[in-house]
């Protein structure tokens, strides 16, 4: 425990600083794009308060512009954030047993907050984890506000800025690949999407997800388990 208890003494500022450096600019890009797409600043900030999920928020911009149906927005959110179902499992014992603090910490369990919380030693007080979660969201909100204010002034006619979402997926996929337990997910996903495109161009994503879920049911991993 000697090793991990030294980590317990890391001040909040040291833990939240790396997240701030990512969240402020990423939030600013989101705020900028959202306002440029025609949203008022208050809506950009509100979306950080009620959703707080970077990739899903980037994704919603073109969908809101196109006036997409609630059902398709809901489905897209479900798909993009599905990985979050598996985050809470490793933090079950560490969160406060009940109360508003617990609810808020569940709400704020983003990729980055999850990865910081899971590196904290087991005896970290819940209050510290709570503050860390709240600070991380604060950076995200501040960044968005900054980007939205700039975006409301700027006149920009560059095409292709929304490709930032594809690049965000590329970053997340690279990190998932780094921590993979096998290469199967990629080996299945590529042909699944190609096959789905053949079946229906309109519904390609949903069909491909269905195919991947089927594959997950049928592909038996080797008994040698990796964490």
């Amino acid at each position: 425990m000697a090793l991990s208890s030294s980590k317990a003494h890391l001040p909040l500022s040291a833990l939240t600083l790396p997240v701030a450096m990512g969240y402020i600019p990423l939030g600013a890009v989101f705020g900028f794009l959202f306002v440029q797409a025609g949203a008022p600043t208050w809506l950009a900030v509100l979306s950080n308060v009620v959703i707080y999920a970077g990739a899903a928020q980037y994704m919603m911009i073109p969908m809101l512009v196109a006036g997409a149906s609630y059902a398709s927005i809901a489905l897209a959110t479900l798909v993009i954030n599905l990985r979050h179902v598996f985050y809470g499992l490793s933090l079950l014992q560490r969160f406060p047993p009940k109360g508003l603090m617990r609810l808020y910490m569940v709400f704020g369990l983003t990729d980055e907050t999850y990865s910081v919380l899971t590196t904290l030693p087991a005896d970290t007080p819940p209050q510290k984890m709570f503050l860390l979660t709240a600070l991380n969201q604060l950076w995200w909100v501040l960044g968005t506000l900054l980007g939205a204010v700039v975006g409301a002034q700027a006149q920009l006619s560059l095409k292709g800025l929304d490709f930032v979402l594809a690049c965000l997926f590329a970053v997340l996929a690279t990190e998932q690949w780094r921590h993979r337990s096998s290469a199967w997910p990629v080996l299945v996903a590529l042909p699944a999407y190609a096959l789905a495109l053949v079946i229906s161009q309109q519904q390609a994503l949903s069909i491909a997800i269905g195919l991947c879920v089927l594959a997950a049911v049928f592909i038996q991993p080797k008994p040698v388990s990796t964490p």
């Binding site: 990512g22 479900l78 598996f86 997926f169 495109l197 991993p221």
Partner: protein
């Protein structure tokens, strides 16, 4: 952008995200006792991220004529930088900048 549509969409997205993040806290035993769920937990995140990536690339390539070279190059750059440097913001901005530079005449 229709503001009341956007507002409802935000609330729906918020509810779904909260539900997903909260599921293990109310159904941990169920999630942990099913080997199938565990298998999906290991298989699906990477598979779905690859699908989302391909889908977003396809969306980009439909915005211009010609082959999807800008999409492939921007994503390759993003992934190479992320793999080497582990700096999400840098990878993301470099990839987007290359893309925007490429498709704007």
């Amino acid at each position: 952008m229709n503001q009341s549509h956007a507002l409802w969409a935000l609330l729906i997205m918020g509810a779904i995200t909260f539900g997903l993040r909260g599921l293990p806290f109310v159904a941990a035993r169920w999630l942990q006792s099913h080997p199938l769920i565990e298998r999906m937990g290991r298989f699906l995140p990477l598979a779905i991220m690859m699908l989302l990536l391909m889908h977003a690339m396809r969306g980009g390539s439909q915005g211009h004529s010609g082959l999807p070279w800008p999409e492939l190059a921007a994503v390759a750059l993003t992934m190479a930088l992320q793999w080497r440097l582990k700096h999400p913001l840098l990878s993301l901005l470099a990839g987007t900048a290359l893309y925007v530079w490429w498709i704007n005449p």
